[in-house]
Amino acid sequence: MKNKMIYGVTGIFDTPDEIISAAKQVKAIGFERFDVHTPYPIHGMPKAMKLGASPLGYFALVFGLTGAFAAFALMTYLMGYNYPLIISGKPFIPIPAFIPVTFEVTVLLASVGTVLAMLFLLFKFPNNSHPLHDTEYIKRVSSDKFGICIEAKDEKFREDEVIEFLKSIGAKHVEVIYYDNETLNFKVNIFEWKFVTFLVVSALVVSGATYIVLNKLMFASPFNWMMEQNRIDAQVESKFFGKDNFSMRVAPVGTVSRNSNQFKFSGQPELADAKLVNPLIPTEENLRKGMKKYDIYCSPCHGYHGLGDARLNGQFPNPPSLHSEKVRNWGDGHIFYVITEGQNSMPSYSSQLTNEEKWAIVLYVRALQRAMNAKEEDLK
């Protein structure tokens, strides 16, 4: 020991009753910086040492409230404002559904935060050396004896007096503890190769195990029931239909599907304009249907009012207005043709819309055009 400095004086006692009485007397003399070490918690010790309430409760309160508010605020922001989704018909901010999560996060933050506060603030964690370590005293009090240690930092500390005092209150064995600053200020080198290797190995083991569990084990029998379904996958050989072993069936020769969208005027817009007549009449029902489909399929580019000013504006070649002279002079058949076949950047919508729905859209487009260019007589 190079810089021998005195840490404190320790005394060892035999029974819990003795240590309680010793703690009371040490406190009564007026010592403030002293600690008691026992192999197990002794009832009444905080009272005998006149310890105040632990500050840990406040940490738990602060962390718990933080968790509660953070969880609630996060869910409210995400579900209510950032990405509102309707889930099973509930409001965007369904408070009852938030409560379990809020509760969980409260408990999580309160417990983890309290433990971390205890380790880092109260136990001064990364610093794990203490003058009492490796002394005869700590070996005894951690197995079968009860000890008290009066620190040299105490204002009333006089080495000889304290030794005499501890002996006078019945200490069986009194020891003076020394320390040197160098060992006490020893900092742990976290980049020591053993420690780093240990970290790397454990990270590899944990991630490997996680990978195996999530990617292999979860798909091994018997966890794969949902994948083994009694259906035929597309484009896979199937023995079910005897001859050709195709799983995807083709229509028999010479038949037409009942919902077939076959278009006679492919590539002939003028002919379609001339020949096709809208089979729907402009009832409210048909117009509403057209509006619904228009809003779903057309409005992303053409805009809700057909002005070509929709939310995707600027990301594609801008679509022309539906209110131009040209489009207004088209027949219904021509619009139907464009929906069916597409035009310039616009793709065909035949796979999304039935013929009836297309005609409903044509009706709605006509209504939009009429609304934008109302004639004098419409106002009457």
Partner: protein, 392 residues
Amino acid sequence: MTAINYQRKELPSIMLKTGVLLFLLGLIIALLGYAIDHERAAFNGVILLMFVMSVGLGSLFLIGLEYLVGADWSVSFRRIMEILAIVVFAVPVFSLPLFANLHTLFHWTHIEDVLKDPILKNKMPYLNEMFFSIRSTVAFVLMFIFWWLLAGRSFGQDSSPREDFRKVTVRISALFMPIFAIVLTIMAVDWLMSLEPHWFSTIFGVYYFAGTFSVALAVVTLFAIYLNENSYLGEGIGGDHYYNFGALLFAFTNFWAYIAFSQFLLIWYANLPEETFWYLHRWEGSWAVVSIGIIIIHFIVPYAVLLPQPAKSDPKRLKFIAWWLVFAHFYDLYWLVMPTYSSGGAVFGWMEIYPVLISLGTILILFYYFAKNKNLLPIGDPKLPKSINFHL
């Protein structure tokens, strides 16, 4: 074994006087109520019945729990629960005026309506007057039997302790637990849930139990603290007993909230019309205020008061919160029962006071008379010294 320093003191007569005063006042209001508006009086009668049963059956449960888990700390005030459990004998008495008013209370007793209603028709094998009366009678008889087995037998131990008493009582307690669960659930379902016979909730028995436990513990806490402060319990209980009362009251405040919220969350989430209407009844008009109030009264206030550690062992705050929980259980029962009587808006008048007056009066009177000439400490119990010296 240290000698127990206990001198029996007779309870003060002010206790009896208060009890009689409350009871008579309540009785007058009840009689007036039945004369003026027998429907409203009968619904209040359900509150009275269920409150008194909560205290009586809950005390029995606490005794059984003590034996079953081998608790030491509660032995020194077990007498309070044993004496308090006597109120189970008042439960059938309070059920009599309700049996006379079954048609007023329960929609399912109107056979002509039931036959028109397919749901009620299917529930007929369970919900009919005959089976209902049998169930309640059996429940009452079981309460009496277990009162004798768990509480009544204990008083003889003071003068002539039997060696195997604890062993036998532990077995009885083990038998009592499932029977307690069934009796409590049946009573809760019959007298509270069947007020709205279309509604069902499988957690309802547990919900009523959560209230029962907290109110029984609150009443025991009140008796224990008042008796201890006036040194009727010798050196029976001290700071760490108080702390346990506080901790348990806190725990069961949370338990109640957990169960109540579970019931609500599942019904709210599933959104099935055959379940949600019960809550919607409690959301109409001014009932919404009462429904919000139950969260504050039964959970937030006791939770906030009992949260700090010193509060759990401070007799002043414990007394306050125990009284508060008694009030909360009345409030809870009011919330469970009265929306059936007045749907659309809450009602509160002079008649709603009588369940409170009668049940508190009954508890005080029965406790006073039954505790006469009895030790308030179970001095024959070999665990008593350990309980008196209980430290956490």
